[in-house]
Amino acid sequence: MVVDRDHEPTGALVRPYAVTRGRTRPRLEIAMEALVETTARGRLNGLSSGREQATIAGMCGTRLQSLAEIAAHMRMPLGVARVLVADMAADGLLAVHEPSGIGDGGGDLVGTELLERVLSGLRRL
């Protein structure tokens, strides 16, 4: 995962950052469409870690959710959710599944196979 400081929108003046203990930079750069899943450890310990953390652990334990969905449901700016999720992932409470990122070095075959899966999925809709 790439840490890309120049592109990271920050919001140091915003109240929700209190829950991130003032940090506005996540330890990991997590794409807005990255999928988040609660780990077994997160299921056991996630609920005791803090209100926001518990909500996230609960919500990503029932189905995969993107970072954007977590932010929307928690009514948090994307950047705040990103810091929380990165911390919880570092603590082993969440697993973060990065998107396939078609063009960024994933290799042509991987991209093509993914596109074909998306295409047949859309046709089945």
Binding site: H7, P9, T10, G11, A12, L13, V14, A31, M32, E33, A34, L35, E37, L64, S66, A68, E69, A71, A72, H73, P77, L78, G79, H97, E98, P99, S100, G101, I102, G103, D104, D108, G111, T112, L114, L115, E116, R117, V118, L119, G121, L122, R123, L125
Partner: protein, 197 residues
């Protein structure tokens, strides 16, 4: 929903939905999404470093940009997200993040105000993100011939131009299928290198 394939890793993909103000972006996302479109906000506090037309304004400003998005579960281990771009194209800081790793983009165009989509097209051209043009016929009529639109927008002859009704699930589905087919064709032709920002 199928059982997770052992060989597939859990992953996601996204398509960007762009276009001018009130052109039908949220409507299009909502017509195929399995969830009511959600809104996520990004906040940027900056001494705006050339992010908009008023370059070099040195005031420290906090800008909130809202993007709405929808979700389509393709498989238990593959989820497609549709992200609508912020209404105001000047919020480029968000566009960079939006297009990073995207499959491609749908540029919705109201033929009565073609110029509204120029900024989006320029941006995708510059980032070499494949896109198609979807003409949203608001009153059920297409006001311009597709060839005239192609000429007016100065898009390449390969760029698909389709008509759509953003409110219709079937229509939106076809738009997305056309986009992914186009991206696949380009990749197979070897023209896709460097695509996706």
């Amino acid at each position: 929903m199928s059982i997770r394939q052992p060989n597939n890793r859990v992953t996601s993909a996204k398509i960007v939905i762009a276009g001018g103000f009130g052109v039908g972006k949220t409507t299009l996302v909502g017509s195929v999404s399995e969830i009511t479109p959600l809104t996520t906000e990004a906040i940027m506090t900056s001494a705006s470093e050339g992010v908009d037309d008023n370059d070099m304004v040195q005031d420290k400003t906090t800008t909130t940009v809202a993007m709405d998005f929808g979700r389509i579960t393709i498989d238990s281990d593959l989820i497609l997200y549709l992200f609508g771009t912020p209404g105001q194209t000047r919020f480029w800081f968000m566009w960079d993040e939006l297009v990073r790793g995207a499959i491609g983009a749908v540029v919705i165009v109201d033929t009565r105000r073609l110029a509204d989509c120029f900024a989006a097209i320029d941006f995708f051209e510059h980032r070499r993100l494949p896109y198609l043009i979807a003409l949203n016929c608001f009153d059920g009529r297409q006001h311009h011939d597709v060839n005239d639109v192609r000429e007016a927008l100065a898009v390449s002859p390969n760029t698909p131009i389709v008509t759509t009704d953003a409110r219709s699930r079937e229509s939106t589905k076809q738009v997305l299928i056309t986009l992914v087919e186009y991206v696949l064709t380009m990749r197979r032709a070897g023209a896709g290198a460097g695509v996706g920002a």
